[in-house]
């Protein structure tokens, strides 16, 4: 039974200790991304909303043809999100203060430096590649969709209509195509006619963005979205209007997603280690209490019995003593009587 508990603890706590990787890529230090990893800088002041990036993405990733052709810009009248057939979407935002015309914003996976999806996946299906892209491995995915719950940018999508092999679909920053040498830059970047998208090393992109903000302070807000959001993302944004006006959350904070759950996970081995000690302690105390109660009861019974015995003996002795005395008295009486009778007889004889 002790061995069982031990094995159980091994299973619960030990397994993660043996197989575990740290939730964060670089311990207690702030992880600033793999050195030399790539990213994309999107400039909302340059985007013209032509949807060619969507077309480029669709083509290089062999995605299904869209419900409406890519040159049909009326789809921009509605806000769209990524879905199982669309890794990237452009949305139009009208009548914004401080903008002369509509502002467009492209959305796709931000490729977090420490991705929420990767930390949330219970089969480790997501990988943050050293090149920068976050990719998904379909050979282990169970389809639990916790990555979709976890992603603060609402990016991963699911093939709900697939019965046997539903996949998680999301932008890979064209990591497979680029590592295989099929592409030099992601499909969307290559298709952009106005250089609203720049592909390069993330550190270089931050410098480019800073230079633009410095050179055109009236054109840009002094903020590079994605430099620190959720611990930093490989995809970076510049804008002339507040980011919340173009559908981007400004309340995400700078904490990388894995840190949000690391505290709770750290408590697990503590529970596994301390709970059995505590519970066995409580059990032992109760057992001891029962034993003591049992002993005390036995003692009480024994002492009561002893007292009763003693009392009985006393009473018996008294009775015996009394009987003794009575007997003596009776004998004395008899002797006296006999003597008297004898004396009487002697007297009679003497007469």
């Amino acid at each position: 039974m002790q061995r069982r508990t031990f094995l159980g603890l091994l299973g619960a706590g030990g397994l993660s200790a043996v197989l575990g990787k740290t939730a964060r890529a670089a311990g207690t230090k702030h992880f600033e991304g793999f050195p030399g990893s790539s990213g994309v800088l999107f400039d909302a002041t340059r985007c013209i909303g032509c949807r060619r990036c969507e077309a480029g993405c669709n083509q290089v990733n062999n995605l299904p043809p869209p419900p409406q052709p890519f040159d049909d810009l009326s789809v921009l009248d509605k806000k769209r999100r990524t879905n199982a057939g669309t890794y990237t979407v452009v949305n139009r935002y009208d009548h914004l203060a401080g903008a002369p015309g509509p502002v467009f914003r492209k959305n796709q996976c931000q490729h977090c430096l420490e991705p929420a999806c990767a930390s949330a996946c219970f089969v480790n299906a997501f990988t943050k590649t050293p090149q920068g892209g976050v990719i998904w491995d379909g050979s282990v995915c169970v389809g639990c969709r916790y990555c979709m719950i976890a992603c603060p940018f609402d990016i991963p999508t699911f093939e709900y209509d697939q019965v046997l092999t539903p996949r998680i679909m999301k932008c890979t920053m064209c990591n497979p195509q680029i590592t295989q040498g099929l592409l030099k830059v992601p499909g969307c970047v290559g298709a952009c006619p106005v250089e609203a998208l720049v592909y390069g090393k993330r550190t270089d992109l931050i410098n480019i963005a800073r230079a633009r903000v410095r050179d055109f302070p009236n054109r840009y807000l002094n903020h590079i979205y994605g430099e620190h959001e959720m611990g930093g993302t490989s995809w970076l944004y510049l804008s002339g209007v507040p980011f919340k006006d173009i559908g981007m959350r400004e309340d995400l904070g700078v904490t990388p997603a894995p840190e949000l759950t690391s505290g709770a996970l750290a408590a697990v081995p503590l529970v596994a280690g301390l709970w059995p000690v505590l519970l066995l302690g409580i059990y032992a105390v109760n057992k001891r209490k029962d034993q003591v109660a049992d002993e005390e009861r036995k003692e009480a019974v024994a002492s009561t019995l002893a007292r009763a015995k003693a009392e009985a003996k006393e009473a018996l002795d008294k009775v015996l003593a009394k009987a003794d005395a009575d007997t003596k008295k009776a004998i004395e009486k008899e002797v006296k009587k006999a003597l008297e009778e004898a004396a009487k007889a002697a007297a009679e004889e003497g007469e």
Binding site: L15, N124, C144, Y146, L260
Partner: protein
Amino acid sequence: MSMDVSTDKKTLLTPFNVVVGVILFLGLIVTFLRFTKGLAGVTNLSDNNPWGIWISFDLLCGVALAAGGYTTSAACYVFGLKRYHSAVRPAILTAFLGYALVVLALHYDVGRPWRLPYPIFVQSGTTSVLFEVGLCVFLYLVTLFIEWVPAAFEWLGVRKPRDVIVRMTLALTIFGVVLSTMHQSSLGALYLIAPSKLHPLWYSAYLPVFFFVSSIAAGLSMVIFEGTLSHRYLHHKMDATYQGEHDGVVLGFAKGAAVVLVGYFAIKVVGLALDNNWKYLFTGYGAWYLVELLGFVLLPAILYAVAVREENRCLIKWAAILTVLGIVLNRFNVSLVAFNWQLPAADRYFPSWMEIALSLFIVTVGILIFRFVSTYMPIFYEDERFKEHAPLDLHEHPVKPHPQGFGH
């Protein structure tokens, strides 16, 4: 949920059978559609709302309401409340069936159900809270099975393996409490990763503690609630020990639930203060939050306390029902109502009738199996052949320790 087993066998068209029949029929249809048309064919799930009621109800509520297993066995075997002994078997059976049905329901919800063992046996994502949930639920299901199986052995009249398991009772109980602590809390910890999606009133760094503590109240209340149901429909299966101990169990558990609920209320308020979320109380979500906190945590706590003082069994029953509903409400709030609260109404989720039908189907299957097992196996009574002490003895000397082992 009606469980009328004492009706005459001439007609099968009892109200219970008709309702069960309809639910089972609909459940089978949904099952067929789910595995021929995919999740899109039966659910209202979307890319914005990847988890629906099959997670909210079947997983989160299912696990919380099956907490009676570890609370009862811990009370009896660890905390030494031996007069709760006869309540252990029904609680363990409920928990085992509850967890088994949670796992069954997950086969409908995940995309590739045959890969459910993958996180444990193929590739482990140890940084995931869901991995911890999966591992603990798997291990606990096995533990509950082992804890339950002596009843089956007694039914079959097999003594040896039954005695071996009975001797492991303490170890199994402690293992069960450890696993339950971990995964009950982890179900709350699942949502720690999404502070931007969950309303601040429900998001808290204490979420794991909230889920764990409330699961204790849920477990105790479910034992009380089920006890009243079982008394009504399975009375003829109960022996003198069970019936003699039942009132004590109800009172004791009600007292425990009152204390736990007060503690739960206190830490909820502490959480509110810690994040300084008072300002949200004056919004629509705030009103809903207060309904949950005052109406389904504080109110049942007070009702329990009053009912225990007055030994009012009817009030205890109602407090138990209110607590159970409160836990269900809380799990729904965290996972559905307050989740994605910033999305426009058109993008929010509401379950399809087929999702609801399947959840009812799962619950119904559980009730039917429970009824079958407790009708044929020694759940509410002790098997004469396996008794280790006479029931009368227990009443005369309640503190008498069990001769050997701890359970049967």
